[in-house]
């Protein structure tokens, strides 16, 4: 039976998976607007907007849930991350604000063409920067270069910026490519005919890009971020796990090739989940390696128990609501 900190840690991981698979794809669709071209460019843009308009705000809440769970359950880790990664987190926030506001502005421009034009451009650029910054933050958290005094929570002033390193930057790129990949895969299910072929081609390219970034990221992790890299590549579970992830990733591409779009969507989500689970398992028991782990930075058991009860009750409300939302707007 896992103890309370392990349970909330697992819940945070699940929330992150859902966020990347849903909200991440919303960012990805903004990136595809940037690359909407060819004879059906306008149609692509229209389909992408229809796809995310009703759901992006609900999907975005997963990020808030992750943040809240982090500061409630592992407060010292949250505080240290916000100190050490002040700049990339701020950049991500600016991206979130610009993306969300610009999307609403262009949806309800009421014929104000100047605002519409600028909003559209801003929405696309912010859709690209935000997942990149999010990935950099995640990579810096995993990188193991943020040193914290576990007793006082004070962050040691490091000589290097913990995020301006090859590993976090590669994770940023990988997050970006994963988001665009997911968006293109989802669009193959939500479109038809030649438009669907456009997104199928884009999904295949993005899927290969995910792999192309994932491999160097894993090797850089091994040398530059050994806290996570060594367990990721040299544990007993490493080989079977990476084989599984690889098989799922390739199977998703094969399914796209054979035009089994629903299967491809399922496999792409499974691939996303496996990548994040791999991160979580490799990093365990650390919340912020190498100084803060689930043992020394978890909140009071009373707080964790109460939070889990709220999560349970909230899920009972949330699942039918989300099912309803997706039933109405998605196939």
């Amino acid at each position: 039976m896992p103890d309370l900190p392990q349970l909330v840690g697992a819940v945070i991981l699940v929330a992150m998976i859902v966020y990347v698979a849903s909200g991440g794809a919303d960012f990805g669709s903004g990136v595809w607007e940037l690359f909407a071209r060819g004879p059906r460019g306008q149609q692509q843009v229209r389909a992408l907007r229809v796809a995310i308009a009703p759901i992006w705000e609900a999907n975005h809440v997963w990020l808030i849930l992750v943040v809240v769970l982090l500061f409630v359950c592992f407060p010292a880790a949250f505080a240290a991350i916000m100190v050490a990664l002040h700049l990339p987190v701020t950049l991500m926030l600016v991206g979130i604000v610009l993306r969300g506001a610009a999307f609403a502005f262009q949806s309800y421009a009421a014929g104000d063409h100047a605002i519409e034009r600028h909003s559209v451009r801003l929405f696309r650029v912010a859709s690209m920067i935000t997942p990149m910054a999010l990935g950099v933050v995640a990579g810096a958290v995993a990188g193991g270069h943020i040193r914290v005094d576990a007793a006082t929570g004070a962050v040691a002033p490091g000589a290097v910026r913990p995020w301006l390193l090859p590993f976090p930057l590669l994770v940023g790129l990988m997050t970006l490519s994963l988001c665009t990949y997911l968006a293109a895969v989802y669009m193959t299910v939500e479109t038809e005919g030649p438009l669907r072929e456009d997104f199928r081609r884009r999904a295949l390219v993005a899927g290969c890009a995910v792999g192309a970034v994932a491999l160097p990221a894993a090797f850089v992790a091994h040398s530059e971020a050994p806290v996570i890299g060594v367990p990721l590549l040299a544990s007993a579970w490493s080989v079977p796990f990476h084989v599984t992830t690889g098989v799922v990733a390739v199977a998703a591409l094969v399914a796209l090739g054979r035009r089994s779009f629903r299967t491809a969507r399922f496999l792409a989500i499974a691939q996303t989940a496996l990548i994040l689970i791999g991160w979580g398992v490799a990093q365990y028991p650390f919340v912020l390696a190498p100084d803060l782990d689930v043992g020394n930075c978890a909140a009071d058991p009373a707080v964790l128990a109460a939070t889990l009860i709220v999560l349970g009750a909230g899920t009972v409300l949330l699942v039918p609501a989300f099912v309803c939302l997706y039933r109405v707007f998605k196939q």
Partner: protein, 442 residues
């Protein structure tokens, strides 16, 4: 500007910006749902048109509110990491609940805005109710965290951490319900009068528009009812402040020397150096009565508290006066509207009254801002009343002036764009050419 001041200014700015849009996200759904209900009952397309126009405006405001709220949840840690490290778990329960309430709000808004053709009419209206309930619940839960900062319970502060945390007790603090009730009423007041003022502006140019006449009456009803109830919640809240934050009360009133019985000061200009409030109108006994329910109760002045525990008296006092003045003024306008209606002189036909409403449109929001200034500045130098000082919690990150300037620019630009879009939406709705009935439900 010191980094502490920059951090406080940035937090204040983000809160001040977010609260306007959050208020719209809570209260606009009420107007939309009522308009939709009248359309369902009467089949009159004007109500449907109004509902759709209101929901378009709400969509813009809600999106800006959602993303600016995200900024806040991160900025708690970006600016006050030590506060979050210590207090995060204590106030975590309401924040977790707020997360789910926000989920409900966002899901229902998606269904509402884009489900006109896909949901049955009653289901669609129910989604609107969900937006409103989710919004109200979000606000109430967030205020639980703020109420804990004003009157901490359910924990013990030991050295540099809170121990013996009882999350339920920390959530159910004495200030919670009075603060939540006061803020919710203020929200409906601000949005009611805000909407009424906007529709009054259109009616001054197009007096016959039945859409805007109905919109104004409905918005004014919501604002007016709130205006009547608001002093009651304020009175209850003030009594809790008197008990739990006496130094905040003294600053709100500009009361330097203790008085028994204490006079209520209206207006005036506190001078912290001289420890005196000048030019105020003083009403004997009234403060004793309002704070403690007895005419001769003693009210403690600032002199009874250590100098380094005083909040900025001038800001707190002036903000409180502004808030109360706005509340009284809008109450008077509400009473005037009720009187006009009773004398069968429809308020929407009186040009002077429409002009008055236009000027009143921003006041409710200004009142909300002033009220939060009282709450937050009045609690200084504490971030958690009597336990943890704001200066102990600020981030070690330097050059905070840079993000302060950056976010200022961001918020100014967003505010300008929202203003321009809203103006367009409002005035388009008055032009008959654009008033063709849109598609109803499928």
């Amino acid at each position: 500007m010191s980094d502490l001041l920059a951090a406080r200014s940035l937090m204040a700015l983000s809160l001040a910006f977010h609260i306007v849009f959050a208020a719209a996200g809570i209260a606009m759904p009420l107007l939309m749902v009522v308009a939709e209900g009248r359309w369902l009952r009467t089949g009159d397309p004007v109500w449907l048109d109004l509902c759709k126009r209101w929901s378009k405006g709400t969509a813009i405001l809600f999106a800006v509110g959602a993303v600016s709220g995200t900024v806040l949840s991160f900025q708690l840690g970006l600016l006050w990491p030590e506060f979050m490290r210590q207090a995060g778990p204590v106030i975590g329960l309401p924040f977790a609940m707020e997360g789910f309430a926000f989920f409900l709000e966002a899901i229902c808004l998606g269904l509402y805005l884009y489900g006109w053709q896909k949901l049955r009419p009653r289901t669609h209206q129910l989604a609107g109710v969900g937006v409103m309930l989710g919004g109200i619940a979000s606000g109430v839960f967030v205020i639980a965290a703020n109420a804990w900062m004003n009157g901490p319970r359910g924990c013990r502060h030991a050295g540099d951490r809170f121990v013996d945390v009882d999350p339920i007790a920390a959530m159910c603090t004495p200030m919670w319900l009075p603060q939540a009730a006061h803020m919710l009423l203020a929200t409906f007041l601000a949005v009611g009068f805000g909407a009424a003022g906007v529709h009054a502006l259109v009616l001054l140019r197009h007096p016959a528009s039945s859409l805007h006449r109905r919109a104004l009456v409905l918005a004014l009803q919501v604002g007016g009812i709130s205006a009547v109830l608001l002093p009651l919640s304020g009175d209850v809240l003030a009594k809790f402040v008197a008990e739990l934050q006496p130094v905040k009360l003294a600053a709100m009133e500009g009361l330097f020397a203790s008085e028994q019985p204490a006079a209520l000061r209206i207006g005036g200009w506190p001078d912290e150096e001289a420890a005196v409030t000048r030019y105020a109108i003083e009403i004997p006994y009234l403060l004793s009565f309002l704070a403690y329910g007895e005419l001769d109760a003693k009210v403690r002045g600032l002199e009874e508290f250590p100098r380094d525990e005083w909040p900025p008296v001038l800001i707190t006092h002036v903000a409180f006066q502004v808030m109360v003045a706005i509340g009284v003024l809008l109450l008077a306008v509400s009473v005037a509207a009720a009187f006009l209606a009773w004398r069968r002189r429809a308020p929407v036909d009186q040009r002077w009254f429409l002009k008055l409403l236009v000027y009143c449109a921003p006041l409710g929001f200004l009142g909300i801002e002033a009220g939060w200034v009282v709450t937050e500045v009045g609690r200084q130098p504490w971030i958690v009343q009597g336990v943890l000082r704001t200066s102990e919690c600020v981030t070690p990150v330097t050059n905070l002036l840079v993000p302060f300037c950056g976010f200022t620019l961001l918020y100014v630009v967003l505010a300008c764009v929202v203003f321009r879009l809203m103006r367009r939406h409002v005035f388009q709705s008055a032009e008959p050419a654009l008033q063709e009935p849109e598609d109803g439900h499928a």
